[in-house]
Symmetry: C2
Subunit: 332 residues, 2 copies
């Protein structure tokens, strides 16, 4: 069956508030570098006060991925919950601006649109502090069944396990997709997120609720509770799933039951801000997959998109990824 | 008399909404590349809809300059009007985050905090479309006389001639500063702004309402209604004023009655977004001047700050300018 959309994303609709900070701030506030912490409104205010001048740029893991896939020319849609406030309006503008179908109704009351305070240290690493706000209102009723059925791949973020009702939305989307003969992908999102929901994520894999898994090396090691990366990859190879595992500057591994394919990263001039590296890798991989590219090309497209996003502030591409793919002989 | 503040800025308090666009959009919307147009709310909505994903970063010409001077370690303050909305809160956070004293009362009603839609084309040039919003509520009552008296230099932007009451605030600030034996600086802001207010700007210079003038080559040519840059510089040399004129990648000229000093620009790796180049030049120049550096060093500090800001999106520095000055042997 042909599909109207290549990729549909379901995730937390978040606007990033990004600031360059010294390592001192992480130490003083006892923040684990590279991770994602959930914070309440009071903590958001107190941390924000300590940040320098910010750049406010739409974010959200799955949303970044969908925008990246759209930048490659894929037909995309997104489901996520904002509030009808200034920040929510900016989120909706930015995702629609690149042609993503986004029709989830904004909340009229309740908490504000979600914000993620992102502290970028001089080494380019980002440490994220998320106030989930209106994302907590995302529920199964927001899952447009027709949209899911019309999408070749439905992409879900592990972070959806945090707001309680979003988990139900996730499961419902997967059921509808599979009933329509579509594929479902999951990103493990964050190693601390995997710590929180390890058993459930393993169950999603083994119950075949998902068909494609994205992870980075830290998340994969956390999933299989091992400090040895090779063991974690071996464990993944035993699952009946298509896995794409990013390994920072070493590139990525595409893991199937049959083989493990290593694909290098693209060279960069200067690492500025790693925010969105994994999200954009998934964008390129899914854009390739939805156009029936081979797995190596999918991983190369992912690496290319990641190389663009880590050379500037923010997790949304600033250049046309389709143009970059074409320049690099990787037509999507 | 010693001063509590090195530089006080008075200007429009604006948040920039920045997007990379194709030249097509400028042509379609008949926008003059490199300029600043004033737009109303309806036009703001219609133009915003045509922009891609945005970065929202505090801006405002004089505000950028003051933040830059603060980044060099100068003691600074700012007067400007926001509304008490989400955007206004972000502006206040960002300017205070770097240590700028900012106590102007936000408007509780009336139009929203000012936004400038900035379209950045692939050549790095920015085209600005400003909705003045709450800036129109800035008036002489917002000028804190004690703050002006306590500041070695009061820096005013030519753009203040646009909102009617701000012009009175400008003149009042200059009178207070001069009565206290302080210096007053003006930036011509924009060639179209000079077109609008040429006679008044010349009168500010000749009536000695200002002591220091910042301009770029286009603004200076517009001021003296000549297409010949050398003639414009000669005309400026005849005014009894300290002039600092930026000449894009050629650097700047420091013009006094006695001599014209040419100071080269700093080399850059990649031009990304010229927004704030002039503002940051003024920041370095004023930071140097307030610490009694010679004019050549002032111009070098200006060039250094400009080189930082044009290599990323947004008009606020992302690195410590004091650290950059020190690395380049230009201790402030």
């Amino acid at each position: 069956m042909t599909s109207q959309y290549d990729v549909l994303g379901l995730g937390n609709a978040i606007v990033d508030v990004i600031s360059m900070v010294d390592d001192d701030l992480l130490a003083r506030e006892k923040l684990a570098k590279g991770g994602m912490m959930l914070i309440d409104e009071a903590r958001t205010e107190s941390l924000y006060k300590q940040m320098g001048s910010t750049s406010i740029i739409s974010g959200g893991s799955a949303a970044n991925t969908i925008v990246g896939a759209a930048s490659f020319g894929a037909k995309t849609a997104f489901i996520g919950k904002v509030k009808a406030d200034e920040t929510g309006k900016a989120f909706a503008h930015d995702i629609r601006a690149i042609g993503v179908e986004f029709t989830t109704k904004p909340a009229q009351d309740g908490p504000a649109t979600a914000r993620c305070l992102i502290l970028v240290t001089p080494d380019g690493e980002r440490t994220m502090n998320t106030f989930l706000g209106a994302c907590q209102n995302l529920g199964p009723d927001d899952v447009d069944a027709d949209l899911v059925r019309a999408s070749a791949i439905t992409y879900l973020e592990g972070y959806l396990w945090d707001p309680p009702a979003a988990k139900q939305a996730f499961v419902r989307a997967s059921e509808i997709a599979h009933a329509a003969g579509r594929r479902v992908a999951l990103t493990l999102s964050d190693q601390f997120c995997v710590d929180r929901y390890r058993a459930e994520f393993l169950d999603l894999i083994r119950s075949k609720t998902i068909d494609i898994l994205f992870a980075n090396q830290h998340e994969l090691k956390s999933l299989y509770e091992t400090s040895d990366f090779d063991s974690a990859v071996a464990a993944l190879r035993n699952e009946d799933i298509l896995g794409a595992v990013t390994v920072s500057e070493k590139g990525s591994l595409v893991v199937t039951r049959g083989e493990t394919l290593a694909v290098p990263a693209y060279p960069i001039q200067k690492l500025v801000d790693t925010t969105g590296a994994g999200d954009l890798y998934a964008a390129g991989f899914l854009a390739g997959l939805s156009r029936d590219q081979d797995l190596k090309t999918c991983a190369q497209l992912g690496a290319l998109a990641a190389s663009e996003v880590i050379q500037h502030v923010g997790a949304r591409p600033q250049r046309s990824l389709a143009a970059m793919a074409s320049e690099n002989g990787l037509g999507v």
